[in-house]
């Protein structure tokens, strides 16, 4: 099939000038390699685009119908600017490229991974011990998986670990039942957009009682200008099963705005445990508008660990619907907003059964003119008993023109619940920096150390390699913020 359009539109330099982003060290994600794209849906969004994507993927008719229905919803829904930032209006949907694929088949061993892609990983500065991890990685290269071998290992346990296209084609009996159920198409404008044009993302099914020993991992990048990445992830953990999933994202820097709009749905059946870990470092022109939600059944546990660094605007509120008795939900969130960036993040905890427990710890750091916003929803209805929620949100301001806002919405009815909420705002003081400098640390090192200290109690709960990566990303951000 021929691409609808084979030209990339020219960088829109005016738009870049309107949003000057100074002092950010983005060298980490600032690169791209030439890739011959075999499939290209061209720019702009119409029924034709959606049909093109669906036909390239050789999808079943029900999926095409699902996509077309979603497109209608997307087009009819207004931008949520009555509560969210007006910056959303700057997304030019006509300039976005909704589907690109290199047409390469997923690779089995590291040796078979194209040198370009390996170089990409190298440029990301992944240390030796993390490369070992990558040897077992399901790495997302643009729309399609470029590398995968952990699949075989976990397949022996009956685990299905596949990209969304493959899983919907080969295992519809498992995935169709849950697909789009946790996050309905019309949940919000961007979940509707994703539902219309999704490609890539992981589908995982862990059978009853299976505890997956190694974390399953994916690494996403945006490698084409104007290319929106709309991955769709669905993880189903059957009764008593356990899995940890990690995603890391970085994107090259382009002068035009790019859009990343993912949907991630988790289903933890009775007694299951899912941990979903994200460390993102988007380039500062990326709109990162993601819907993440899980349903925890009886005695199940869902834990979101979410770190957002970079992007122009991130809007993301991982949620857990606590559907079964004694279900537990947790969101640990770290956001760093540098100059020209807005991190609008938070959490949602919907208690829908007795004795359910939720915990939210959110820490945000605002650097320079960066802005961080916490939005939280905790809902405990009247007919339930024995529910518990703990919410803590702490903000750290680095400069006097940094900004933070907190919008916690906690609605608790009934008198048989325990709810606790704490919020704090602190600032890195000049005295603190001088103190550290007088010990020989440079101003940048001192800032980094303060920030790392601020998030330390959260970062300690992360898997080792992710807390190391997080620390390195923060060091890079802070280096650029001083002097």
């Amino acid at each position: 099939m021929k691409p609808l359009s084979d030209t990339l539109s020219a960088p829109d330099t005016d738009e870049a000038a309107a949003n000057p982003v100074v002092g950010i060290d983005q060298t980490k994600g600032d690169f791209q390699y030439k890739v011959a794209y075999e499939f290209d849906a061209g720019t702009g969004l119409s029924e034709k685009t959606v049909r093109y994507i669906s036909s390239v993927k050789k999808e079943a008719p029900w999926i095409l119908e699902f996509r077309l229905n979603a497109l209608k919803k997307f087009l009819s829904m207004p931008m949520p600017t009555h509560w969210a930032t007006k910056d959303l209006e700057n997304i030019n949907f006509d300039k976005i490229r909704y589907y690109l694929a290199s047409g390469q088949k997923p690779k089995r061993t590291w040796d078979e991974v194209p040198a370009d892609i390996k170089r990409t990983f190298e440029r990301l500065g992944i240390p030796e011990q993390e490369r070992k991890f990558l040897a077992g990685v399901e790495a997302q290269f643009d729309s399609e998986a470029a590398y995968s071998n952990i699949k075989e290992i976990v397949a022996k346990q009956g685990v299905i670990f596949a990209n969304s296209t493959e899983a919907l084609r080969e295992h519809p009996e498992i995935f169709r039942k849950f697909f789009g159920k946790v996050i309905p198409t019309g949940d919000n404008k961007f979940s509707a957009l994703n539902s219309a044009v999704f490609s890539g993302g992981s589908f995982i099914y862990v059978p009853k009682g299976v505890k997956v020993a190694q974390p399953l991992q994916a690494y996403f990048r945006i490698n084409a200008e104007n290319f929106g990445q709309f991955e769709r992830t669905l993880i189903i953990c059957d009764e008593g099963a356990e899995v940890v999933y990690m995603e890391g994202c970085t994107a090259p820097k382009f002068s035009t705005s790019t859009l990343h709009s993912a949907v991630v749905e988790l289903v933890a059946l009775k007694g299951a445990k899912i941990q979903y870990i994200t460390v993102q470092n988007w380039a500062n022109n990326v709109f990162n508008l993601v819907t993440k939600r899980g349903v925890a059944h009886e005695e199940a546990e869902i834990k979101w660990i979410d770190c957002n660094i970079g992007s122009r605007l991130t809007m993301k509120y991982p949620g857990v619907v606590l559907k079964g008795r004694k279900a537990r939900g947790e969101v640990l969130s770290i956001a760093l907003a540098n100059d020209g960036q807005h991190q609008d993040t938070g959490a949602k905890m919907i208690h829908a059964a007795d004795e359910t427990t939720s915990n939210i710890i959110a820490k945000s750091i605002s650097v320079g003119q960066g802005r961080s916003t916490y939005r939280g929803v905790v809902h405990i209805p009247k007919h339930l008993k024995g529910c518990k929620n703990n919410t803590e949100c702490d903000a750290l301001l680095i400069n006097s023109n940094s900004r933070t806002d907190t919008y916690p919405a906690i609605s608790v009815r009934g008198d048989r619940h325990a709810v606790q909420h704490e919020a704090s705002v602190s600032k890195v003081s000049a005295d603190q920096i001088f103190y550290m400098q007088s010990r020989g640390l440079t101003e940048g090192q001192a800032m980094s150390l303060s920030v790392n200290g601020f998030i330390n109690d959260l970062a300690r709960q992360f898997p080792m390699e992710y807390s190391v990566e997080l620390k390195r990303l923060i060091d890079l951000e802070m280096e650029g913020s001083v002097g």
């Binding site: 003081s429 001088f434 007088s438 440079t442 150390l449």
Partner: protein
Amino acid sequence: MSQLEITNLHVAIGEKEIVKDLSLTIRSGEVHAIMGPNGTGKSTLSKAIAGHPDYTITSGDVRLDGKSILDQEADERARAGLFLAFQYPSEIPGVSIANFLRAAQQARMAEGEELDASAYYKRLYSKMDLLKIDRKFTSRSVNDGFSGGEKKRCEILQMAMLEPKFALMDETDSGLDIDALRIVADGVNTMRSPNLGVLMITHYQRLLDYIVPDHVHVMWDGQIVKTGDKSLALELEAKGYDWVKKELAAATG
């Protein structure tokens, strides 16, 4: 043998001149005490030497081993061998003392060079043993929720680890009960060596009962007005600062 040379130093905060034409030379192995009532510029002197950005040096010079340090940032001065023990040390939540000191050591190494972690901990523990500090201490966040005594002990441990050429100790005794004072003084005395020069700033004579200085200077209105040996401190204790004031009035009057 090192030398810290302060010559005709003038320091201002904003428009206000605090230190006025102060000169003082400290050599390795010497302990100097600067005494004086509140508001005479003692703390200003130590912060200005350490490179606090709020303090402007309007004229004069500070030289370390003959080289002016005035165009250096605070961290460069620290790496060159200065150490300021703070009167009110800052808290750094979430950063353990061990990690903080490790970062400070790492900052002194050449780019690309990695600190040997096991050697570092060995050294840290030996210094802690020397200063009779409990091993658990360094896993706590720097000064976070510390008592006055613990904060000062943390300063002393940092000083021991960073092995400066010159230590500026700003009111190290303030806020300490007698037991804490003794611990801090023991620490400083343990570190006294021909390789370390100390400038101790204090309001009270009592610290000097524990750390016996080689030279005592009395500071008044931004200047050193009297210099002597440890007996000067005792004389001050007996006669009070009014004595200096009267002498000064007589001399200028």
